[in-house]
């Protein structure tokens, strides 16, 4: 009887080492790689806006298609911070005070404005679920913000 239990435990260990271990490794690796690719796509989108001073629907669609193609379920928000100069208030630098206001129009930008993107994963991906269920490996959700100054 004891030998039977030992064989079962041995089979479980063999299964974990032969199947679960590489699966978890690949899953975690793929998740982190996907997050990097999503961030690269997001910053590429910002670079396009920074250079062209506009954000068109086709640019957004292309970005959404890239995210979908990577298998990432992410939500994103484009943020337009408009640069204003208050000439009546002298700032710490001895010049005019510069303020940024969040505006609704995300399609057109002026020089000096800031364009930002906030990316947030909607839920855990399949690979994240797998890694967490099989090995207890918890990968934090993607929640990042990037801002660039429009040239």
């Amino acid at each position: 009887m004891l030998d039977f239990a030992g064989k079962v435990i041995g089979i479980i260990i063999a299964f974990v080492l032969c199947v679960v271990a590489p699966l978890v490794n690949i899953s975690v690796d793929r998740t982190l790689l996907t997050e990097r690719e999503v961030i690269t796509a997001a910053t590429d989108l910002l670079d396009e806006v920074v250079d062209s001073k506009q954000l068109t629907d086709s640019m957004l669609q292309q970005f959404a298609a890239e995210c979908t193609g990577l298998g990432a379920s992410v939500d994103y928000e484009i943020i337009h911070m408009q640069r204003t100069i208050d000439s009546s208030v002298v700032g710490i630098a001895g010049g005019h005070t510069v303020n940024y206001y969040k505006v609704q129009n995300i399609n057109e930008y002026d020089t000096g404005d800031k364009v930002g993107i906030h990316i947030k994963s909607i839920s855990l991906t399949g690979t994240q679920h797998l890694a967490e269920a099989l090995a207890g490996v918890f990968i934090p959700e993607l929640d990042r913000t990037f801002y660039e100054r429009v040239r």
Partner: protein, 386 residues
């Protein structure tokens, strides 16, 4: 369990434990790599914003017309003085980084970022650079981002001595400029004080590619030294957390970190709750040419208009426009705002003489940050020449 089970399964169990340990370490390394990847991008974006904002808001305007205001401003160009306030760059950097880290765009957020995240920050302009570091200044452990005075780029240029007509020695020290179109030799008087000799027009004509490369290396070495000093101040001699900016030009890209006006920053997110400690280094100004404001103009020999850009003083471009155009009007309005009554003494020569005159008072402080904190800024500038 039987002895057979123990013998057969001992190795797999041990191997399984090793795999778990490996998995934890591997995931942590991956996480750290990912966080570094993200933070480096954020810091680079913030540094880009900072240097561009600094250039846009720097009130340097130059011209060679007979207008007295423009002529006075032209003196700024010929003496390589760029009137800038580095706080503009620091504020812009802090603002951008704060919103990227999920903080609101408020004064307190900027202060929080400056005190907790920015470990070292350098603002490099044409004739010198400012270095900021986090310095604890009282027994309660309160820290603040404290700047050095503007530190000139000083170094030796042995390649210049290879030109007989230049009449220089390999160990002569020179004041250098990012524009690399001017060079000043530093001479010592008999009484031990320093005399700066204006040799831009005579030595400047000998500058070639080799000399220009040596000037770049000296400038980058200078900036690198102070980055190290700032990190030592911020981390308290913890050498594991220092980094060095490469001073030699890259063989592949042929560029150096400080090749023009730029902002360098080291940000440490150890205070941030991300699970791993990440340090990122960012260099601003990669696309600076695209947002390079016009700061002045002059005529060439045949009366054509030439325009100067903020990031490349002493290089004139012919494509901006003519008087009456929007660019010209904007330039003139800017001049009227920023130079209503230009002070002729506010040139590099004036400042340098002032700095050199205070050399004898430089014995009280151990480092430039301490000197800056106690308001004795200029003393350390003088020491840079020795």
């Amino acid at each position: 369990m039987s002895r057979h089970f123990v013998l057969v399964n001992f190795a797999p169990i041990l191997f399984g434990l090793f795999w778990l340990i490996y998995l934890i370490a591997w995931q942590r390394n991956n996480r750290e790599s990912f966080e570094t990847f993200v933070l480096e991008r954020q810091v680079n974006f913030a540094a880009d914003s900072a240097i561009e904002e600094l250039l846009v808001r720097s009130p340097s305007v130059v011209s060679d017309t007979t207008d007295s205001r423009l002529s006075a401003a032209m003196a700024d160009l010929t003496s390589n003085e760029v009137t800038v306030d580095p706080n503009i760059a620091v504020e812009e950097f802090s603002t951008t980084l704060a919103v990227e880290l999920g903080l609101p765009d408020t004064y307190s957020s900027r202060e929080y970022v400056q005190h907790n995240y920015i470990k070292a920050l350098q603002v490099c302009v044409n004739n010198g650079f400012y270095t900021y570091t986090n310095l604890t200044y009282n027994s309660k452990g309160q820290a603040d981002l404290i700047s050095t005075p503007k530190i000139p780029y000083v170094g030796v240029v042995p390649a210049l001595s290879e030109i007989p007509a230049a009449h220089t020695n390999p160990d002569d020290k020179f004041a250098l400029f990012l524009s690399k179109s001017a060079i000043f030799r530093i001479l010592w008087k008999d009484d031990g004080t320093i005399n700066r000799v204006l040799e831009s027009t005579t030595l400047g004509q000998y500058i070639n590619d080799k000399i220009s490369d040596q000037m770049s290396e000296e400038i980058n070495t200078r900036v690198s030294e102070y980055m190290q000093k700032a990190l030592v101040q911020a981390y308290g001699n913890n050498s594991a957390k220092t980094l060095r900016i490469p001073s030699a030009p890259s063989k592949i890209r042929g560029t150096m970190p400080v090749d023009g006006p730029t902002v360098l920053a080291v940000v440490d997110t150890s205070e941030r709750n991300v699970g791993v400690e990440v340090i990122a280094f960012g260099v601003g100004g990669a696309q600076i040419v695209r947002n390079d404001p016009c700061v002045g103009y002059r005529h060439n020999e045949v009366g054509e208009w030439l325009w100067a850009k903020q990031s490349r003083l002493n290089e004139f471009f012919a494509s901006l426009g003519n008087p009456g155009d929007a660019a010209f009007d904007e330039l003139y309005d800017k001049l009227a705002d920023t130079h209503p009554d230009p002070d002729p003494s506010h040139t590099m020569s004036g400042l340098m003489e002032m700095y050199l005159g205070r050399a004898s008072e430089r014995k009280y402080f151990d480092n430039p940050f301490e000197a800056a904190h106690f308001g004795c800024d200029e003393d350390w500038v003088v020491m840079e020449y020795k």
